[in-house]
């Protein structure tokens, strides 16, 4: 069966950039979140280094998210199909895929996750800049520091909730999800199962030899 190009090289690259930077931010962020997780910073080279790198890696993550926003903005728009899909979300979660309306290139859950990361990412960036230069904020604007610690924590928790589901879905629930984001290709059968509306218009890969055995 044909292989379809699900993610181009640049899409895989920007996803990898955001994934690696996010994981670093998550781990060091957890270390700063509570002394109970501080050992993570020790493993990653110490609290001082983590404090120095965390904001810079945050900028890398920002670039990756902006890249995604530019690339996927159109694909991530909610459509009428998504509204139907949302109503059948319970079936999707129970793996009763036969009862789930067909999805486009991204299903409604993926779109929700994308916008969660964009909005939370913006909140994390703004509050993060305030935390980065906390010592430079004048005392009269102390309320900025108060807001920054709270917004940064709440937004980070929101992304953690999303990322737990995202990683779990991509690796454990959807077969070949991980393969697709690493190598870019999916089988036509996979595409018609998970993203039927997209499958019809998806670009075909000319040389299917390397993965031909998968669907044999």
């Amino acid at each position: 069966m044909n292989r379809l190009l699900r993610y181009t090289f640049s899409e895989r690259l920007m996803h990898a950039l955001s994934a690696i930077s996010y994981v670093y931010l998550l781990l060091t962020g957890l270390a700063f979140w509570t002394p109970a997780f501080y050992w993570i910073a020790t493993v990653l080279g110490g609290g001082y280094l983590s404090r120095v790198l965390h904001p810079w890696i945050g900028l890398v993550f920002t670039i990756a998210v902006c890249w995604m926003l530019v690339t996927w903005r159109e694909d991530m728009r909610t459509t009428a199909d998504d509204r139907r899909w949302r109503k059948a979300m319970g079936h999707y979660m129970r793996n009763e895929d036969a009862l789930v309306p067909p999805a486009g290139r991204f299903n409604f859950g993926q779109k929700q996750f994308f916008w969660l990361m964009v909005v939370s990412g913006a909140a994390l960036l703004i509050s993060g800049i305030a935390l980065w230069f906390a010592a430079s904020i004048p005392r009269e604007l102390q309320v900025v520091r108060y807001l920054a610690v709270l917004v940064h924590a709440v937004a980070a928790l929101a992304t953690i909730g999303g990322i737990i589901i995202h990683i779990y879905m991509g690796i454990a629930v959807v077969p070949d999800g991980l393969h697709a984001i690493l190598h870019g290709d999916v089988s036509e059968r996979w595409a018609r199962h998970h993203h039927a509306l997209w499958a019809a218009q998806a670009p075909r890969i000319r040389t299917p030899d390397t993965h031909a055995d998968r669907d044999a």
């Binding site: 979140w33 001082y48 067909p102 737990i164 454990a172 018609r192 039927a196």
Partner: protein, 279 residues
């Protein structure tokens, strides 16, 4: 171990700055270039290299000018906001004698203590990016000496001892001041931070803001929420998320291309069918 306390009697401070010099000298701090503010104040604010600053203010009342001098430094709160906010274990410690001390070798320079402090005390060093402040001369106190500033004070405006002894002296001094034209004299030992190990006698005890002191300081509510309920709810939510996906996997497992496929695949269609869903 009894809690130790430094008593600052602003009514007998003559603004000589001997305490500033003694602090710099004992703690081996490099000299800071003084700033001419048009007052008897050395610098606009404390810094990472200047932990003891006599804050000077002019105050006019009933046609009489008063010079209000207050020793600005770490207050050594019994309930320190800096410690509540600090993420690095061991970077801020509170000894059983009440002294709150920063351990710069453990400090990661996040500045959360600045957010937690109700008195604007911790200062980040521009080069080392670690925070510094008054140690209450813990290295002197540990061997039975007074803090350097107390030792240098020529008017006994500064005194050092157990908290009980210092409050005793302070209360007597307040009674004297009240009988001598300062009916509102009081001891500044703010209960919102559990009391402090630096207590101050103020002529105008009813208006601490005249001296640049907050009226009713406490650990900021944002820090309390952040390090209290938000932390616990966040930890539970993260744990719940991980457990949730685990339970989901055990209950529903992996999506199967064969058994749970959309209807058109099950019906044996091998080509993408022309769907009519695109309304």
């Amino acid at each position: 171990m009894p809690v130790v306390t430094k008593l600052i009697d602003t009514s007998t401070c003559i603004g000589c700055k001997a305490c500033e010099v003694a602090c710099q000298e004992w703690n081996d701090l490099p000299p800071e270039t003084t700033v001419q503010l048009g007052t008897y104040q050395t610098l606009p604010d404390m810094s990472a290299n200047f932990w003891n600053l006599i804050k000077f203010r002019e105050h006019e009342e009933n046609g009489a000018l008063q010079w209000l001098m207050r020793k600005d430094q770490c207050m050594h709160c019994a309930d320190p906001g800096c410690l509540a906010a600090c993420p690095a274990p061991g970077a801020i410690v509170q000894y059983t004698n009440g002294i709150v001390d920063f351990q710069q070798d453990q400090c990661i320079g996040c500045g959360y203590c600045i957010t937690g402090c109700p008195f604007d005390v911790p200062k980040i060093h521009t080069r080392t990016k670690r925070v510094y402040k008054c140690t209450l001369c813990v290295d002197r106190v540990a061997v039975g000496l007074q803090p350097a500033c107390v030792k240098a004070c020529p008017t006994s405006c500064l005194q050092f001892g157990t908290k009980d002894a210092m409050l005793d002296i302070a209360t007597k001094r307040v009674a004297q001041l009240q009988a001598n034209g300062f009916p509102n004299a009081a001891v500044y030992d703010p209960p919102g931070v559990g009391g402090t190990s630096v207590v101050t006698v103020l002529n105008h005890g009813d208006r601490p803001e005249l001296y640049g002191l907050p009226r009713d300081p406490s650990v900021p509510l944002a820090v309390r929420i952040w390090k209290g309920p938000l932390k616990w709810m966040g930890n539970l939510a993260m744990l719940g998320g991980v457990l949730g996906v685990f339970v989901h996997y055990v209950r529903f497992g992996r999506k199967d291309l064969e058994s749970s496929a959309p209807t058109d695949l099950k019906n044996g269609a091998t080509k993408p069918t022309e769907k009519t869903e695109n309304t």
